[in-house]
């Protein structure tokens, strides 16, 4: 009897020892990450309700919701918010479609597949400054390939200054972002495709389903659980893109490519209004969280109205 209780105590002791060990192994990482993230996040939250003195590096005074009020009443900010959502949607929509198609291609057998895979992964490692330079040159008014190509083939009669048009400039930045985003999503789609049961396709093929039927009735529904999170992650990442905008247009022309992230940068490090910038950063955070939560909330609503399956 005594021995028995002793044994329990020992195992309990061992158990808590393991807990201590586990915690001590992970603690340095947790401290570093949360000190670098959490403390700044709280700091940003506090100064979003304040006026911050950039010279003396302290809070001048608290202004309650004034920063947020200013932002809501600012037409430029509101259009930046809408632009950010549009920009994010365009990028993740096209990235998802292209990556899905490329992943299907890479799932086939053909000569030169290994080379193509390297080429497809490559843009991920391209620094976004380089991709900014690269697409800037591609769409350059004097020396760009696009102007030369369109001019030579007679589609345009004179060279166009692509980046001078706000709407075109925004989409050029989107192109650069999509090009950089394709590699990763393609790899994830590819891993999804490789884990699919091949029996379903064979059975459908035997039953006489054609390529399109197999695509829309089998592949598409099977891939949807992988595609939705990828789509959302890309949406979130696209909304925080900064480098390409900074290199290509600096938010111009006429603010036409100023997304929320760039707006925050300008408020913080060009006009040095840290309070307003922090408030805007929290608006971006709220939008980000909203985007991430959309699927689970909509699922709950659907379940509520149509019952749990």
């Amino acid at each position: 009897m005594i021995e028995h209780s002793n044994l329990i105590d020992k195992s309990r002791l061992k158990f808590s020892k393991e807990k201590i060990l586990a915690t001590s192994l992970i603690l340095p990482s947790l401290i570093l990450v949360f000190v670098t993230y959490l403390y700044p996040a709280i700091f940003t939250f506090v100064i979003s309700f304040a006026e911050y003195d950039i010279v003396r590096l302290n809070i001048k005074k608290f202004v309650q919701f004034k920063n947020f009020q200013y932002l809501i009443n600012n037409a430029f900010f509101n259009s930046a918010v809408l632009r950010t959502v549009y920009f994010g949607l365009v990028i993740c929509l096209f990235t998802t479609i292209f990556s899905f198609l490329i992943a299907i291609l890479l799932n086939e057998k053909f000569v030169g597949k290994a080379l193509l895979r390297v080429m497809i992964v490559l843009p991920w490692a391209v620094p976004s400054v380089v991709s900014g330079v690269l697409w800037g040159q591609m769409f350059h008014a004097d020396t760009g390939f696009l102007n030369a190509l369109l001019y030579q083939s007679g589609i345009i009669s004179e060279y166009k200054i692509w980046l001078a048009d706000p709407l075109i400039a925004l989409h050029i930045i989107a192109v650069a972002e999509i090009w950089k985003a394709i590699p990763f999503m393609t790899l994830f789609f590819l891993s999804g495709l490789q884990s699919l049961p091949s029996e379903a396709f064979e059975a459908a093929s035997v039953d006489g389903a054609n390529v399109f039927q197999r695509f829309f009735y089998i592949l598409f529904p099977l891939m949807l659980p992988i595609a939705i999170p990828l789509f959302l992650i890309q949406f979130v990442l696209a909304m925080k893109s900064f480098d390409t905008i900074f290199v290509l247009t600096r938010g111009g022309p006429g603010g036409g490519t100023t997304t929320l992230n760039y707006f925050i940068y300008k408020e913080a490090f060009e006009t040095f209004n840290l309070g307003r910038a922090s408030a805007a950063a929290y608006v971006l955070l709220i939008i980000t969280i909203a985007v991430v939560l959309i699927p689970s909330i909509s699922k709950k609503i659907l379940n509520f109205f149509w019952g749990n399956k």
Binding site: L25, S29, Y37, I102, P127, I182, K240, V247, F269, L285
Partner: protein, 277 residues
């Protein structure tokens, strides 16, 4: 049936060619611009193949007093990226082992919290960090880049290493434990060698992510005492010489592209290993 197979083959190769063109042409265009004289770049004749190859742009860019300051940039970027990657491994390796194998409360919560911070807007953290760095006069130092980079990349590295450790056979560890192996011996003599592909993959990820980072150095090195390659290249965009700009871009690209080509299988492994769980 055979006709259909041939048709499929043709379609596959055609599609593969298109994809190759779209993904590779921008890079090819950059290389083309970097090795052609300025007057050919600016001429209106469209040529997809170099008519005259010169390396003067590279020579100009590599001169010590060039605006992009490429030597300084490469040196700093190498130091910062390697330090970041090493720190990430040193901190991330034990952490991921703990998350993967040891008994700990709220494991999934910790992992989830770590991963989710990666998707939060960077600018949210950058403003206060900037204020802190300036108030302790730590801006414009290598440290001011390495610490934030490590914090930004560490969650990713922990996730990569965890997926690799999850795949290791647990029997080896159990046998070692029975033989009286302590955790530190276990980590350094048994897990470490087995985990080599994972460690390489994580190192490359961290290195590349640090190499391409732009916003952090842009803000934290405001006095431009230290420069990274990305910053140097950006400064060269102020200049109008297209050829030199392209050459600087190519030089910035070379290290990461080489890493990518040589270790491509590790990168792919990371993603592919995460799926079939």
């Amino acid at each position: 049936m055979k006709n259909r197979l041939v048709l499929k083959k043709i379609f596959t190769y055609f599609f593969a060619f298109i994809v190759f063109l779209i993904m590779f042409f921008p890079l090819y265009g950059l290389i083309l611009t970097s090795i052609q004289p300025e007057n050919i770049i600016r001429s209106r004749n469209l040529s997809f193949f170099p008519t005259e190859i010169i390396f003067t742009h590279f020579v100009e860019v590599l001169k010590p007093n060039h605006i992009s300051n490429i030597y300084e940039g490469i040196k700093n970027s190498l130091i910062v990226s390697s330090l970041t990657a090493f720190l990430c491994l040193i901190l991330g390796f034990p952490a991921s082992y703990s998350l993967s194998r040891l008994n700990m409360p709220a494991k999934n919560l910790i992992l989830g919290a770590l991963i989710s911070v990666y998707f939060l807007p960077t600018i949210l953290f950058v403003i206060p960090l900037f204020v802190i760095l300036v108030s302790y006069q730590l801006d414009d130092t290598i440290l001011s880049l390495v610490v934030p980079y490590t914090a930004f990349t560490l969650p990713f590295v922990i996730w990569i290493l965890k997926t690799f450790i999850d795949k290791l056979p647990i029997e080896v560890e159990e046998a070692a434990k029975i033989d009286g192996c302590s955790v530190f011996q276990l980590l350094s003599f048994i897990i470490f060698p087995l985990l080599r592909p994972g460690l390489i993959a994580a190192f490359i990820f961290a290195f590349i992510l640090a190499w391409v980072e732009f916003l952090t150095p842009l803000i934290f090195t405001n006095n431009l005492k230290i420069s990274t390659v990305a910053l140097g290249l950006f400064r060269s965009t102020i200049d109008i010489k297209i050829g030199q700009q392209a050459a600087a871009a190519v030089i910035t690209l070379i290290p990461v592209v080489l890493l990518m080509i040589f270790f491509q299988q590790y990168i792919t492994k990371v993603v592919l290993s995460g799926s079939n769980k």
